[in-house]
């Protein structure tokens, strides 16, 4: 279980939301690293063997769109799930990521979508 668990990076400026999400994902069997803004998220993304990213959009300094672009440049294969409180983000942002969902859709859906992103990894 330990060896098979995936390493997931969560980036969000909302501290409480980030903590809760971390607990949620850890309970679901993932290993979780967190960052509170885009730049520290990118550092971890580069240095750690991150297998999936759950990315907030609205953040100070650098928004989710920019962070996703940089991540694609660094490791294009790592799936990115954009999780934002905004509904209806522009297409040029959503097209950068593998999946886009809005906050408040519920934990089961988030876990299910994250699972679907990581399935190809399991298969390989």
């Amino acid at each position: 279980m330990e060896q098979e668990s995936h390493l997931v990076l969560c980036v969000d400026d909302e501290l409480v939301g980030l903590q809760v999400r971390r607990i949620l994902l850890e309970r679901a069997g993932y290993r979780v690293v967190t960052a509170q803004d885009g730049s520290s998220g990118l550092e971890i993304f580069s240095s750690e063997p991150v297998e999936a990213v759950i990315l907030d959009y609205s953040m100070p300094g650098m928004h989710g769109g920019e962070v996703a672009t940089r991540m694609r440049q660094i490791k294009p294969a790592v799936p990115i799930l954009l999780l934002s409180a905004y509904i209806g983000l522009p297409l040029e942002v959503t097209s950068l990521v593998d999946l886009y969902m809005t906050k408040g859709e519920g934990a089961p859906l988030l876990l299910q979508k994250l699972g679907s992103l990581l399935e190809p990894v399991n298969a390989s």
Binding site: V16, G17, V20, L24, G61, A85, K103, G104, G106
Partner: protein
């Protein structure tokens, strides 16, 4: 022809006959004088004839006396001779003295005198001497010579008389000619002068008549022009889109155009002569107090006036209209007020549109924030929903307690945000004490995410609670608007500073006393506003944000601040080193709230 020329003609027509009569009188006088001279000459001739006859008679007396003496030698018979001899020289002299004698007559007279002397010396004296000597007197030669001499004398006298009579006849003829010439002259003169006066008077009267005709034409043209101009004026007044009422100086209605009749519901015929306040009933929209009539106000101020805002007009049927109007005195050429003209129009639709715009802008302020507010609510809700999921799935009681605390914390955030949001809508009928610090903090909280998205840093200096009497929802709208503007102007990496300062009561530059109150300053370090744009900022529908802006924010904000008896001022700098804009809103602590706004 003016009055001076007309008087000139009158003078000419009066003077010409006078001058003509004077000339005629002069001519008549000259003629009469000529005739009188002739009459004098005739009288001379008469005198000459009489005198010559007298001399002739004296000579006869002389000779008769001499003959009597010769016959009788009685000296008494000689007396006539002596008498005649004594008076003859004088009579001769008198005859010669009579004027008007010609040379021939004078010569004849001299001859006669000589002959008489010759007769006396050569005959009479000789004869008398002979008789006195008692000598013979029957000498034929002497007597014959005396007779011859006397015959000669008689003949000469007869000639003289004859000549004088001839002369008299000629003079009488001349007098007759003169009189005839005078009559003819007078006739021709009278005729000539009459014709002259007639022609002259006719000519002058023609001139007067022509001038009169011209005057009549001018008058009729003027009347026509006046009629046309009045007609034009009437048409203009009838076609004009505003209501126009004119009153006399006592405020009695004289004229109403169709729009005025429609807006007041009074026909011109009914309204004529009635006091204006009966036709044009106006009151204040807010207080519903009757307003001073425009007539009274114009008379009081003696100048053009715009009537108060919020004027409502009551139609004859009782319906009420918002109107905008102005009134002005009508002055005559001397500058005296002779009446009042009132111009007004129905702005009910305009007011409704304006109210709708203001309401719309209020929604727009909230609408622009809606996305960020939803975001702010979504974030804690997401956490709460996740926490609930965790609690439901295998959480220990300790963990559940921790999760519940976290959920509660998140819900408090949601409540704060929704309360701030509601504040934008809450209406109050009267001003209430508003803590500006609390209000600004709430607005900043609500807008936090927006600043984040824009990449703007916000700092605030809100040292102490400052309370002013205000309508909170409206003030919130103003500050939200101004802070949004500042954040958008500052842009990515920019800064916005929000501060409140207390301002003590003071007097401004013009000596006007200003109340104590609060100054809220919202400053950004954006590019600044160019000078040419500044004057338009507070106009409705002016926006620098293209599709993003309604152009109503500042207009409505100013309206709200004015309603609070406050002021809103804007200072901007576009220089490279110190660019940025500062908006200052002054709010008095206890303002006289101006319900209508401006």
């Amino acid at each position: 022809m003016n009055l001076r020329q007309f008087n000139g003609i009158l003078r000419q027509v009066f003077l010409l006959p006078v001058v003509a009569l004077l000339v005629t009188a002069g001519a008549l006088y000259w003629q009469i004088r000529g005739a009188n001279a002739t009459v004098d000459l005739i009288q001379d001739s008469d005198a000459r004839i009489t005198q010559a006859t007298l001399i002739s008679r004296l000579m006869v007396d002389e000779e008769s006396g001499l003959r009597g003496y010769e016959t009788t030698a009685d000296t008494r018979f000689l007396q006539p001779y002596i008498d005649a001899e004594a008076s003859l020289p004088a009579e001769f002299q008198r005859l010669s003295n009579i004027a008007g004698a010609n040379a021939e007559e004078k010569h004849d007279l001299d001859d006669l005198r000589n002959e008489q002397q010759t007769w006396r010396d050569a005959f009479a004296l000789q004869l008398i001497a002979q008789v006195r000597a008692g000598g013979q007197t029957s000498d034929v030669d002497l007597n014959l010579r005396g007779k011859t001499m006397m015959d000669e004398i008689r003949h000469d006298i007869a000639d003289i008389i004859h000549d004088a009579e001839m002369q008299r006849t000629r003079r009488i003829m001349r007098w007759h000619q003169q009189v005839r010439a005078m009559l003819l002259g007078l006739l021709f003169l009278a005729l000539g002068i009459g014709v002259l006066i007639g022609l002259f008077t006719r000519d002058r009267l023609h001139a007067v008549s022509a001038a009169y005709r011209t005057s009549l034409e001018v008058l009729s043209r003027r009347a026509e022009e006046l009629f046309q101009s009045e007609q034009r004026l009437r048409t203009t007044l009838a076609s004009i889109g505003d209501g126009v009422i004119t009153c006399d100086v006592d405020g009695r209605v004289q004229m109403m155009n169709p729009v005025a009749q429609e807006l007041t519901g009074w026909e011109q015929a009914d309204a004529n002569g009635r006091p204006l306040e009966e036709i044009f009933r106006i009151f204040d929209e807010t207080t519903r107090e009757p307003l001073e009539t425009p007539v009274a106000k114009v008379k009081r101020l003696n100048s053009t006036i715009g009537l108060a805002q919020q004027t409502m007009l009551i139609h004859r049927n009782g319906t009420e209209l918002n109107i905008a109007d102005s009134a002005a005195p009508i002055r005559d050429q001397m500058g005296n007020t002779t009446g009042i003209v009132l111009v007004f129009r129905d702005i009910t639709m305009e007011r409704k549109t304006q109210d709708a715009l203001i309401a719309n802008e209020k929604l727009a302020v909230a609408g622009r924030l809606a996305a960020t507010i939803a975001h702010e609510i979504h974030n804690p809700l997401d956490s709460v929903s996740n926490l609930l999921y965790l609690m439901r799935n295998n959480s220990s009681p300790e963990e559940s307690k921790q999760f519940m605390d976290m959920a509660e914390q998140e819900l408090t955030r949601v409540t704060q945000i929704s309360r701030a949001m509601l504040g934008l809508y809450r209406e109050s009928k009267a001003p209430v004490p508003v803590d500006l610090r609390e209000m600004l903090q709430e607005i900043l909280l609500l807008m936090e995410r927006r600043f984040l998205d824009l990449g703007v840093t916000v700092s605030s200096s809100l040292p102490a609670a400052i309370s002013v009497a205000a309508f909170p929802a409206e003030l919130r709208q103003v500050f939200t608007n101004l802070i949004t503007n500042a954040a958008e102007a500052a842009g990515h990496g920019g800064e916005v500073r929000v501060s409140i300062e207390w301002q003590a009561a003071r007097a401004d530059a013009t000596g006007q006393k200003l109340q104590a109150g609060a100054v809220v300053k919202i400053a950004d370090n954006g590019a600044g506003i160019p000078d040419e744009v500044l004057p338009q900022l507070f106009q409705p529908f002016f926006t620098t944000k293209g599709e993003q802006g309604t152009g109503l924010g500042l207009w409505v904000s100013r309206g709200i601040v004015s309603k609070h008896g406050g002021t809103i001022t804007l200072a901007s700098n576009t220089s490279a080193s110190a660019h940025g804009t500062v908006v200052s809103v002054f709010l008095a602590k206890n303002p006289t709230v101006n319900a209508g706004g401006d």
